[in-house]
């Protein structure tokens, strides 16, 4: 403890004892903050207080002795503070690393949506925490075809982000082969099954949209079913599909399905962050989700995605417990 600190401390105590003014207490608060910023420990402050009392006048022996007890107790407080300070530094370092990882994760996700005549595409993806376990991918293969993938990786955070990079690089490599959806999932399952933690798995829906014929051919690996809207009937159907999630069993096969879209029809691909929403004490039912979507059928694909997100957020009182991703593909 420097002499300068002790002099300031002495002046504050002396002036306060003379007049007991509020401004002296305010000065003491400021000094406390300054001492903290200089990592002065509680036991040093206790010693300083004892020294200052001796400078200001005769201190009875029992008060001098009692400071021994206070100092011992303050040493423990000091140890706790130093431990907290060290933890805080580590936490700040970890936060900085997570910020970098979050930025890197963003580079794995496409920034723009495919543009094709007569197809309106909308998308929204909101992570529940800093790092998302939801993954989506578009690949424009030709003037008339693009592929779309939506996936949910078990859990969130860094393990999910690491798995996401594996998925992205596998999809980039396999993308050049223009595999049929079932084959794509079969290859991805082989990669994921060999390289993922046993507790993790990935659900995915992968499809190819032919914009000349408006045919969507897709396969599903454990993914929450999306919706198909038929404009002529003004009715929603489940986007059915069956197939084991990626990473669960080697050698899994994935059945392909095909849908022809008429003008006004649209597809909704989603993750379970959309459907597994708790409103009060109960989970929203798919029929209720359909009711909300029915009010959006005339909106553009992007408006539909944005509106549903906002309405669900409002219903769940602004809680977003899981990553939320929804893709809308509409034939105009």
């Amino acid at each position: 403890m420097s002499q300068e600190n002790e002099d300031i401390y002495t002046r504050i105590v002396r002036d306060y004892l003379k007049g007991k003014r509020e401004d002296q207490l305010y000065l003491a608060q400021q000094l406390g903050k300054w001492l903290l910023s200089r990592n002065i420990s509680p036991e040093e402050v206790t010693d300083m207080h004892a020294n200052v009392l001796e400078h200001l006048g005769d201190v009875p022996e029992f008060i001098q002795d009692s400071f021994q007890i206070l100092t011992e107790i303050m040493i423990e407080y000091g140890n706790a503070y130093r431990s907290f300070d060290s933890w805080r530094s580590r936490h700040q370092q970890l936060q900085a690393e997570i910020a970098i990882a979050t930025a890197m994760q963003q580079t794995l996700l496409p920034e723009t949506l495919p543009q094709y005549p007569n197809v309106d595409i909308g998308m929204i993806s909101i992570p529940a925490k800093e790092m998302s376990g939801d993954f989506y991918h578009f690949l424009c293969e030709s003037k008339s075809e693009f592929t779309v993938a939506i996936a949910d990786i078990t859990g969130k955070g860094i393990p999910a982000a690491m798995c996401m990079s594996m998925l992205r690089y596998a999809m980039d490599s396999l993308g050049e082969m223009k595999l049929a959806p079932g084959n794509m999932l079969r290859h991805l399952n082989s990669v994921v099954e060999r390289n993922i933690d046993p507790c993790m798995f990935v659900t995915m829906q992968f499809g190819r949209y032919n914009t000349a014929q408006h045919v969507f051919r897709y396969a599903t690996a454990g993914q929450e079913p999306g919706f198909l809207y038929r404009a002529r009937e003004n009715r929603f159907f489940d986007l059915e599909g069956c197939g084991t999630a990626l990473g669960i069993a080697a050698g899994s096969e994935y059945e392909e399905r095909e849908i022809y879209l008429e003008p006004g029809d649209f597809l909704i691909l989603l993750t379970d962050g959309v459907t597994e929403r708790k409103i009060g004490r109960y989970y929203i039912q798919r029929e209720e989700l359909v009711s909300l979507l029915e009010e959006e059928t005339s909106a553009s694909a992007q408006e539909m995605a944005n509106h549903l997100y906002r309405r669900l957020l409002l219903l769940s009182q602004f809680e977003l417990p899981d990553d939320y991703t929804m893709i809308v593909l509409r034939r105009t």
Binding site: D152, T154, G155, D197, P198, C199, M200, F201, T203, A221, G222, Q223, E224, P225, C242, G243, T244, A245, G247, I248, A249, S252, D272, E276, Y283, D322
Partner: protein, 108 residues
């Protein structure tokens, strides 16, 4: 919401009764117990009763996936039973249902 686990065992056959919600906050208790059981050589079969489980998330499903993979190595048999409709739907969607729910006529 908590997860309660009760355990009965006899002659290498273990039955776990789960009650509550299985999510990221409660799953570690189940994971530790289940993986420990299926890795013990004297344990021949583990059945998990999910009748009182109202909710399971992907980390909960992941625990059953890890236990199922461990069983392939150890030869232990793992089964889940009495799934509520909501939990059954999730097991069916992910493809675990046919792998972990005994067909009628099989031992339960």
């Amino acid at each position: 919401m908590e997860l309660m686990i009760r355990e009965n065992s006899q002659d290498g056959q273990h039955l776990l009764y789960l009650e509550g919600e299985i999510d990221a906050y409660t799953v570690s208790k189940l994971r530790d117990l289940l993986l420990c059981l299926v890795n013990r050589p004297e344990v021949k079969r583990v059945a998990v009763d999910l009748s009182a489980v109202e909710y399971i998330d992907s980390t909960g499903i992941g625990t059953f996936v890890a236990a199922m993979k461990a069983c392939k190595q150890t030869g232990c048999e793992l089964a889940v039973q009495n799934l509520s409709p909501r939990v059954e739907r999730l097991f069916r969607i992910t493809g675990l249902y046919e792998r972990m729910v005994p067909h009628k006529g099989e031992s339960e």
